[in-house]
């Protein structure tokens, strides 16, 4: 389910973070930027795994931003260099300094591979198929043609759009009613492009959608097989 991805990024540290140790300040900024966000074709960022390298920052004269490289091994070097840079650029830097750093780091990404078996819970069930959720990720869709064959929908009398899917096997009905967890196989992952306009009533945009399949022995609610 999870992969490590190696990323390089140049980020700007706002002035109020400059009193923190550099590692902490940079980690905090990375978390604000990447945590719980989807990167297309990489997946959902779960966590910052580690920071590999931070390179010299440099000062852009005029806007008060100072960006420079710091080698994380030595914090003392960092402070000395900062002081040197500050005095050398006295003419340009103001007290509103920002620090820009080039950082190389690894992220823990949630990106299941095709064919992976994942256990999830039923979120909703309607004529289009099932929607499953795994607490930190909700956009898992099991379309009708990937349900166990043959399946039939028993519509909910209260709500026409919802219903309970039920698998028919050896003359017995096995409903998927959400009482226990459901095992599914990942069929594909898609990253729909961000829509330019959305209608007011439309569902919130899902940047990453997993399509799953239940059409195999051993898949479906765990109680069917255990």
């Amino acid at each position: 389910m999870f992969f490590l991805s190696l990323i390089e990024h140049t980020l700007c540290l706002p002035p109020h973070l400059l009193n923190l140790p550099l590692d902490e300040a940079i980690k905090g900024e990375l978390e604000t930027l990447f945590l719980d966000k989807v990167i297309p074709n990489l997946g959902l960022c779960i966590s910052i795994y580690d920071i590999r390298d931070i390179k010299d920052g440099f000062i852009y004269p005029g806007d008060g931003a100072s960006t420079y490289t710091v080698h994380t091994a030595s914090k003392i070097k960092h402070v000395e260099k900062w002081n040197k840079d500050f005095s050398a650029n006295k003419a340009f830097s103001t007290f509103e300094t920002e620090c820009t750093h080039w950082v190389q780091f690894r992220l823990v990404m949630f990106r299941p591979f095709v064919g992976e078996i994942i256990v999830g819970k039923l979120k909703s069930s309607d004529a289009n198929g099932l929607k499953l959720s795994i607490s930190f990720f909700d956009d898992i869709h099991i379309p009708v043609h990937l349900l166990p064959n043959p399946s039939s929908l028993m519509p909910n009398p209260e709500n026409k759009h919802q219903g309970v899917w039920s698998w028919e096997f050896q003359d017995e009905q096995y409903p998927i009613d959400g009482k226990d967890e459901i095992r599914f196989r990942v069929h594909s992952i898609s990253y729909p492009p961000i829509p330019i306009e959305q209608e007011k009533e439309a569902k919130p945009f899902a940047p990453m959608v997993i399509t799953g399949s239940l059409d195999y022995d051993g898949l479906g609610p765990i109680s069917w097989w255990v």
Binding site: M1, F2, F3, L4, S5, L6, I7, E8, H9, E31, L35, D36, I39, N41, L42, I46, S47, Y49, Q104, R106, V108, F110, F113, G115, E116, I117, V119, I134, S135, F136, R183, R185, Y216, D217, G218, L219, W225, V226
Partner: protein
């Protein structure tokens, strides 16, 4: 932002759980002061009630050693470690073309090895040993990025 390596290594669910634990995530009330974000806690909560919550590095290494003779693909070993199948029907969707690649005695042996080596999910009810099902504990593979 530049992606240097999209895939710098796969992680088993256990490794992610271990990583979050080392950052301070836990299920008791002290979790509120740990430096762990709410979204990370959701991942932690999901993993802690899944089949990997009792796993250890030793059991995973043991699994990897013992499953070498079955010639499984890395993806299959990862699936087995994450799901911990305890019966033939549970391991069936994991191994591609199971009947062609492995004889049924080998699959039974593998399931038995899985059940032996990998710790059981605490919430699962013990599966009764039938005459036709031999549980084998899968060896767990650690696929860590360098």
């Amino acid at each position: 932002m530049k992606i240097v390596q999209a895939n710098a290594g796969a992680l088993t669910n256990f490794e992610v759980l271990d990583f979050l634990r080392s950052r301070g995530a836990s299920t008791d009330p002290t979790r509120v002061i740990a430096p762990v974000a709410p979204s990370e806690f959701k991942v932690y909560d999901y993993l802690v009630q899944s089949a990997v919550c009792n796993q250890t590095r030793e059991s995973i290494n043991e699994f990897l050693k013992r499953c070498e003779k079955y010639d499984l693909a890395n993806a299959e070993k990862l699936n087995i470690i994450n799901i911990r199948p305890s019966s033939l029907v549970e391991i069936d969707p994991i191994i591609e073309e199971c009947e062609k690649r492995m004889k049924s005695e080998d699959v039974e042996e593998l399931v038995e090895m899985v059940v032996q080596v990998l710790p059981e999910h605490p919430a699962s009810v013990g599966i009764e040993r039938g005459t036709d099902v031999d549980k084998i504990s899968p060896d767990q593979e650690l696929m860590e990025a360098n």
